[in-house]
């Protein structure tokens, strides 16, 4: 597939590949999304805004330049921003592919890092020399101010120009708790939300702390996604219960929404409140809440791709890949979209 290399959230010519629950594949302009939903459907999106989670600075014991990418956090509490799991990178920046980046210095618990106006201590390493638990000095106020002043959005080599924070916030972005954009939401516009309402489609949100998507290290990538805290408002849990009761579908905007809703599902009902999604979703997962997912296009082998196997068979995904390729779809976060309906009969052939 073609890499989407410009940070444009809603290209007028964006495409949408639809996999119907019967297994057929259709091609649509993404602007037609609302018309592909059924009156009564409930659309649930992740309203997390994206932190500027890339922090450049110095490993003070060696004086060497480093980049720290904040990767996940145990809590959504605004006052608890001292501790983050983070992945360490050596010199260079996003222009070098993550797998080609020079190694960072070896770090040990107790090492001090200076990251612009912020100071932090390596609390521990997490069974890998580049994955660490970091503790920032100062109050929550100082840390937020430091991120605002010094942080840059996490970025990969397929986008050439440096991203601004506004490139990474979806139109519905709220609480800044994502480490990378919940990019399926880039497809939404307020006009599209209005079209959905007109069609009798309902809309709700949750907040899921989408974590780092790639580390450049196969061993670390195999551990993705990291644990991700989420919050489901009572109004959203109620909307899902009402959708279930009337036999309507719940359509997730993004894999993070699938992860949060399925984690919060108890006997097919979604519990509201705060949780931490720890599970992996794949071919063995029985989906209890979500009936369809809007997503970007993802490469085979990533956790996002694996998640799609909970919706459709491997055979269908193989046909999808062929179609994405032959129809010139764009991949990555600013690329085209897929809408995958859960297969009626999970074809285990």
């Amino acid at each position: 597939m073609i890499a989407a290399s410009e940070p444009v959230q809603r290209r007028p010519d964006a495409k949408l590949l639809l996999i119907r629950s019967g297994g057929s594949i259709e091609h649509w302009p993404r602007s037609a999304l609302a018309s592909l939903l059924r009156p009564g459907d409930l659309v649930v999106a992740n309203d997390a805004a994206t932190l500027p989670a890339s922090l450049f600075g110095t490993h003070l014991p060696t004086g060497r330049s480093i980049e720290v990418r904040l990767a996940s956090r145990g809590s959504l509490d605004p006052a608890k921003v001292n501790c983050f799991f983070a992945v360490l990178f050596g010199t260079g920046d996003f222009r070098i592919r993550t797998e080609d980046r020079p190694s960072p210095p070896a770090v040990a618990p107790g090492d001090r890092l200076q990251l612009g106006p912020l100071h932090a201590t390596v609390e521990s390493l997490q069974d890998h020399p580049r994955l660490m638990l970091l503790r920032f000095d100062g109050s929550a106020h100082d840390i937020w101010a430091g991120f605002a002043r010094h942080g840059k959005p996490i970025q990969y080599a397929h986008v050439n120009a440096p991203l601004a924070l506004w490139d990474t916030w979806t139109p519905i972005a709220g609480n800044p708790v994502a480490f990378e954009p919940p990019s399926a939401g880039f497809a939404l516009s307020w006009d599209m939300l209005g079209s959905m309402t007109q069609r009798g489609v309902q809309f709700a949100t949750l907040t899921h702390s989408a974590g780092l998507s790639s580390t450049g290290d196969a061993q670390l990538d195999a551990r993705l996604p990291f644990d991700e805290p989420y919050r489901i408002p009572a109004s959203t849990a109620e909307a899902i219960a009402r959708a279930k009761a009337r036999g309507a579908r719940t359509v997730a905007v993004g894999t993070t929404v699938v992860r949060a809703l399925e984690h919060a599902a108890v006997d097919g009902h979604v519990t509201s409140g705060i949780g931490v999604a720890t599970q992996r979703i794949g071919h063995a997962t029985r989906l209890r809440v979500v009936d369809a997912v809007l997503s970007g296009t993802h490469e085979k082998g990533t956790s996002h791709y694996e998640l799609l196997r909970a919706f459709v068979s491997m055979g269908t995904l193989t046909r999808m890949e062929q179609q994405l390729e032959s129809h010139g779809y764009r991949t990555h976060e600013f690329g085209d979209s897929i809408l995958v309906e859960k297969a009626i009969v999970s074809a285990v052939f």
């Binding site: 805004a49 509490d77 506004w166 979806t170 609480n175 209005g194 949100t205 408002p233 009402r242």
Partner: protein, 267 residues
């Protein structure tokens, strides 16, 4: 004047009121998350005090570090952010810190204003740069800040029944006073912007209010009208009470609208 006619018209209850009307919440602003811009002097400062007094969680933004620190120290519970709403580069940084600190937002008060050239000038003598600065602060700043915070406000409206954007207007927005060209034209634009937001987002339960607090005894008024009779001017504290009352009423109105059973679910 306090609230001019157009504003009062904007505040008519939307939607259907329930029979007998809603029971007013004793403290409609308690624990509501509020952002006030331009909050180190005048009405903004009085609003921080008033809203904290009503139990709200308050963040504020102002340009100068010493002013932000002074106000934050005076009110221990508030979150001060240094930023300039007229600067595009600052908008997301402000939003990041405000939403980070408050965890969401129910109420945005665009209070920061620029008077244009002082002493006030005839339009023919107004420098383009002075007019541009007034437009950036009084129109583009509130537009950008509203846009970036809309996701949070809509989420709050879905969860609690209502959210409010209050834009501080002026009688100069509707009456063409000589020498008030840059300010008056920019406030007219803000007033109209508010009304269009209100039209476009009517179904989202976010209320957009343009409110003229009246002529107040503030440093800004003194810069515009140095020889004003101070005794005739309103105290900013009194105006802040009125603004808070208007917001509280709008929230109660919205929550009464959402109190009506949800319509036509499913098909």
């Amino acid at each position: 004047m306090t609230v001019h006619d157009g504003v009062l018209a904007d505040l008519e209850p939307r939607g259907r009121a329930m029979a007998g009307g809603p029971v007013p919440r004793a403290q409609p602003l308690a624990r509501r998350r509020v952002l006030v811009t331009g909050a180190t002097a005048g009405l903004g400062l009085a609003l921080v005090r008033e809203l904290l007094g009503r139990g709200a969680d308050v963040a504020f933004v102002a340009r100068k570090a010493d002013g932000v620190v002074r106000v934050a120290q005076e009110f221990g519970r508030s979150h001060g952010v240094i930023g300039d709403v007229s600067n595009k580069e600052d908008i997301h940084r402000i939003a990041l810190q405000v939403l980070g600190a408050l965890g969401g937002l129910d109420i945005l008060i665009n209070n920061a204003s620029d008077l244009g050239p002082t002493p006030l000038q005839l339009l023919a003598d107004t420098e383009c740069e002075d007019f541009e600065r007034a437009l950036m602060t009084n129109v583009m700043g509130p537009f950008r800040l509203t846009k970036v915070l809309l996701g949070s406000l809509a989420a709050a409206a879905r969860e609690t029944g209502g959210a409010v954007v209050l834009n501080v207007s002026s009688d100069a927005a509707v009456t063409p006073y000589a020498r008030w060209g840059a300010y008056g034209a920019s406030k007219a634009a803000l007033h109209h912007l508010t009304r269009i937001w209100e039209q476009e987002l009517a179904s989202s339960n976010i209320r957009f209010i343009s409110l003229d607090p009246g002529d107040m005894d503030t440093a800004m008024h003194a810069a515009a009208v140095p020889d004003a009779d101070i005794a005739s001017l309103k105290r900013p504290e009194a105006a802040a009470r009125e603004v808070a009352d208007v917001i509280a009423a709008a929230l109660q109105d919205s929550s009464s609208a959402i109190g009506v059973p949800h319509v036509a679910e499913g098909a």
